[in-house]
């Protein structure tokens, strides 16, 4: 019932969309609306890369062009019909998206912006120069697709575009809410933790770019038929900036935001063509901002100093609009000025801003993030008990591992032997190589020499995510949670390996995917309950107190069904009651057959739970044995106390 109610505005919007051509007969306006829909599809795709994965892309104008030209060339040279060119555009553009992803894997931030810009430039040059294929600067003319050999009317094509847009909306929405969307967000928040949860950063970045490019290709194809003429000049870098502006202005991680963003970037150039319209809109914006600011000031939500600059900005823009006589010379400056205002004062986009503004004015806070908690019954086995309970058999063997950074030997011929079902402590003064050992075991560092055998197989040279999937889970010394995701979602990322369903199954919500999602949620809730966080399931991980974050990390690692669990200073920064709770949890996990390596500075923790303790100092193992023996060892006391 609730679900239906929340869908009503959407349904009204869809019906309104389909009725539009019945009431508006001016082809110009229909064409504008059509362009907005097409850009919306593209922004859905761009949002996956920008909003979810958190990567800048200025290459989407190029991808858009590739989509258009795939359709154009197939139509022009081979006379393919639209039902064949649409999939062809999607596939071809998706392949190019994969190519764009390759350099994108290695670089971030401004470098990535430049790389994607270079990609867009290459695409435009190639389209322009490959005359034999693309007709070069002359462009390609297309006719609207035909139904029963009669060309579609403007209205009919509009309906087609609307239908495709709604399909795209549903598919994108399902993607980002599935395990794939979670993987995208996870790799944005913490790539290292993502890899160590068995979710390959490499793989999912490529997938994100490929999906995103697929949508760009679809949009490009529809655009070609909509304009009925394509030429290389359309797909320039200004268009790419415009797309990015659309996402930022509309609001990231929001389908509504993408639609608003698309409307703005389509209408903005028209707005800047007409001085009278521009004056009116500039005045309206100024009034809205002034009223909003006064409202906010009266509620003491902000200070005069903070609103002063944006206020002067928008009022100045309005005054400027009346002072101007002709707009065409200054439109780019106005455009640039608007980008600046958006970047500084509307970073979360119109959707995000309206939401938070509304909340602060009304005084309501969001309680949940719209996810209904699945009631868990205790029968769900949240820790899969390790099948092979052969305790005492060697599980992990480290053979004279050497890890060298330049001249520094962080680990110098260290041997370790961890027996199944035990808790193995790893202690030593700061800088003795404990965390380096963790990183070697989980594949973040590749050792200079030596070997690591896990269940008899070497893990050296395997990727972190492969190692994680083979059964080694870890937590981090400096907590590496996926900050913008809820506690529940964090654990669901850990459960990523339980999903077998593919993109088609997600898009169509086929039974296998639905079942996997439901099971994963039930287990995630059970895991949260186990560490005592079920009340905070829908809280964003970054808002949790420190102690709870550490517990959440352990729960997330458990979700991986590990055989070996590496805990890197789990008790650091915890209060005494928290530590007690931690010890209870560790013992309980051990009872299910999971083996531990525990790095810790709290000696009481080490002494009370560890079966064996190894001591590292300056990268070398100086002692090993039962906790009490190690504690009494001369060398260990020397290492800790000096002299």
């Amino acid at each position: 019932m609730m679900k239906l109610k929340s869908h009503i505005p959407l349904l009204i919007a869809i019906v309104g969309l389909f009725c539009l051509p019945l009431f508006v007969h001016n082809p110009y306006y229909i064409h504008l609306a059509e362009t907005i829909l097409i850009y919306t599809i593209l922004l859905f795709g761009l949002d996956i890369v920008v909003g979810y994965v958190g990567q800048v892309s200025l290459g989407h104008a190029g991808l858009f062009g590739i989509g258009s030209y795939t359709a154009g060339v197939l139509f022009f040279h081979l006379g393919w019909p639209i039902w064949a060119t649409i999939p062809a555009s999607i596939v071809v553009t998706a392949i190019f998206g994969g190519i764009l992803a390759l350099p994108a894997l290695k670089v971030v931030g401004p470098y990535l912006a430049m790389v994607t810009l270079a990609f867009g430039t290459i695409a435009q040059i190639l389209i322009n120069e490959m005359t034999w294929l693309t007709e070069g600067p002359l462009g390609i003319k297309l006719t609207r697709p035909e139904i029963m050999s009669v060309p579609m009317t403007k209205a009919e094509y509009f309906w087609l575009v609307s239908g495709v847009m709604i399909l795209a909306l549903i598919v994108v929405d399902r993607f980002v809410k599935s395990q794939m969307g979670r993987a995208f967000e996870a790799l944005r928040d913490s790539p290292v933790a993502c890899d160590c949860m068995g979710v390959s950063v490499y793989r999912f970045k490529v997938i994100a770019f490929v999906i995103s490019a697929g949508f760009a290709g679809l949009a490009g194809c529809l655009y070609a038929y909509s304009e009925q003429y394509i030429s290389p000049n359309t797909y320039n870098n200004e268009l790419a900036v415009l797309f990015l502006l659309g996402i930022i202005m509309g609001g990231r991680k929001s389908r509504l935001g993408a639609a608003i963003g698309a409307a703005i970037i389509v209408l903005l150039p028209k707005l800047l063509d007409d001085i009278n319209l521009f004056r009116i809109v500039a005045s309206i914006i100024a009034i809205i901002v002034v009223v909003g600011a006064v409202l906010a000031l009266s509620k003491k939500l902000t200070t005069l100093k903070r609103v002063a600059i944006p206020l002067t900005g928008v009022v100045g823009l309005a005054v400027f609009s009346f002072w101007l006589e002709s707009i065409s010379d200054w439109r780019l400056s106005i455009f640039g000025f608007m980008i600046l205002l958006v970047v500084y004062y509307l970073q979360s986009g119109i959707v995000g801003f309206t939401k938070s503004f509304y909340q602060s004015i009304v005084g309501k806070t969001k309680t949940t993030r719209g996810e209904v908690l699945v009631a868990s019954d205790d029968s769900v086995s949240f820790i899969s008990t390790v099948a092979n309970k052969n305790t005492g058999v060697e599980l992990l063997k480290v053979e004279s591992v050497l890890m060298q950074f330049g001249g520094l030997k962080a680990l110098n011929n260290v041997d370790l032997s961890i027996k199944r079902g035990t808790i193995h402590g790893l202690i030593g003064p700061n800088g003795s190589g404990k965390s380096t050992m963790m990183n070697v075991l989980t594949g973040i560092y590749i050792p200079t020499a030596g070997n690591v055998l896990f269940s008899g197989q070497s893990v050296v040279g395997k990727t972190s995510s492969d190692i994680a999937l083979s059964g080694i889970a870890r937590t981090f010394q400096n907590v590496q949670l996926f900050g913008e995701m809820t506690a529940l979602q964090n654990i669901l990322v850990g459960l990523h390996h339980t999903f077998k369903s593919n993109m088609v199954e997600i898009a169509l919500h086929l039974p296998r995917y639905m079942k996997e999602e439901q099971e994963a949620r039930a287990r995630a809730v059970a895991l949260l309950k186990f560490v005592g966080l079920e009340d905070l399931a829908n809280e964003e991980a970054r808002n949790l107190p420190y102690g709870k974050q550490r517990l959440l990390e352990i729960a997330r690692a458990l979700a991986l069904d590990p055989e070996l669990l590496l805990l890197d200073e789990p008790a650091a920064g915890l209060t005494a009651p928290d530590i007690k709770e931690l010890l209870r949890i560790i013992r309980k996990i051990r009872d299910s057959g999971i083996t531990f390596i525990l790095i810790e500075h709290h000696m009481d923790v080490v002494m009370s739970v560890c079966d064996t303790v190894s001591v590292l100092d300056f990268g070398q193992k100086i002692a090993e044995g039962k906790p009490a023996e190690v504690q009494a060892d001369e060398k260990v006391i020397h290492a800790y106390l000096g002299t």
Partner: protein
């Protein structure tokens, strides 16, 4: 771009000498760079927006270009050459005196920047800030001034490059865009923080471009350089001569 245009105004309308004009242009470039940092970069970094400053610098670029178009017009303008335009024959090739000046100017600029970074205390402050801003701040370096200053310095260099190249090409509002991406390609191919790398990167890009233009078609001449940029980033992001850093967890 603006550097060249301001230079042109100085020479043309104010009747200034070319050599006298250079410091004026450099000063202007410095002010512009500081302005960009102050308006575009600092607020964006303060609000911790990931692409905020990318967008805001693009926006400022758009505004500068548009303002320049409105002041100097849309057409490219010829820039008077300070040296004679008769080519000199050198090893069988015809070289314009101005081209030699460009090479000399580039070398001087490079040596100056290297000297500044390695030998002076201010240069060390810049390098320190680049390495670790917080630590530099704790050492008593006013990092925000250093950052503003480095933007100013880099703009100064760009403006200087603008007046150097202007007599060889035409001056106009659109001259900047293509060069920006190219400069980036050179820096990446050679490797950031490596003076030698940048020269080699520039040579590689220049040779590849001209060769493509000669053997295939001038229309394609930008493509191999950009593809090279993508390949270098995909396989050796630190550049051909850069040192790779070890990530710490």
């Amino acid at each position: 771009m603006l550097g060249a245009l301001v230079g042109l105004t100085c020479v043309d309308t104010l009747g200034m000498n070319y050599w006298l004009m250079i410091p004026v242009v450099c000063l202007f470039g410095m002010i512009q760079g500081g302005f960009v940092e102050l308006i575009g970069v600092r607020p964006a970094i303060k609000i911790k927006s990931e692409f905020g400053w990318i967008m805001s610098t693009i926006a400022l670029g758009i505004i500068f270009k548009n303002v320049a178009e409105n002041i100097w017009g849309r057409d490219a303008l010829p820039f008077p050459s300070p040296l004679s335009t008769d080519p000199i024959t050198f090893l069988g090739a015809n070289i314009m005196p101005m081209e030699i000046l460009v090479v000399v100017g580039a070398l001087v600029m490079m040596l100056a920047v290297e000297f500044f970074n390695r030998k002076t205390i201010y240069g060390k402050a810049v390098v320190a800030t680049a390495n670790d801003r917080d630590a530099a701040g704790l050492m008593g370096i006013n990092t925000s001034v250093v950052i503003t200053f480095s933007y100013a310095l880099s703009s100064l260099t760009a403006a200087f490059a603008g007046v150097l190249i202007a007599p060889l090409t035409l001056t106009g509002a659109t001259m900047g865009g293509a060069l920006g991406l190219k400069a980036f390609a050179v820096a990446i191919i050679g490797g950031l923080s490596s003076g030698l790398g940048i020269i080699v990167g520039g040579l590689i890009l220049g040779i590849v471009e001209t060769a493509t233009g000669f053997y295939i078609s001038t229309g394609y001449k930008d493509v191999p350089g950009l593809i090279l940029l993508l390949l270098v980033l995909a396989y050796k992001p630190s550049g051909l001569f850069g040192k790779s850093a070890i990530k710490k967890v």
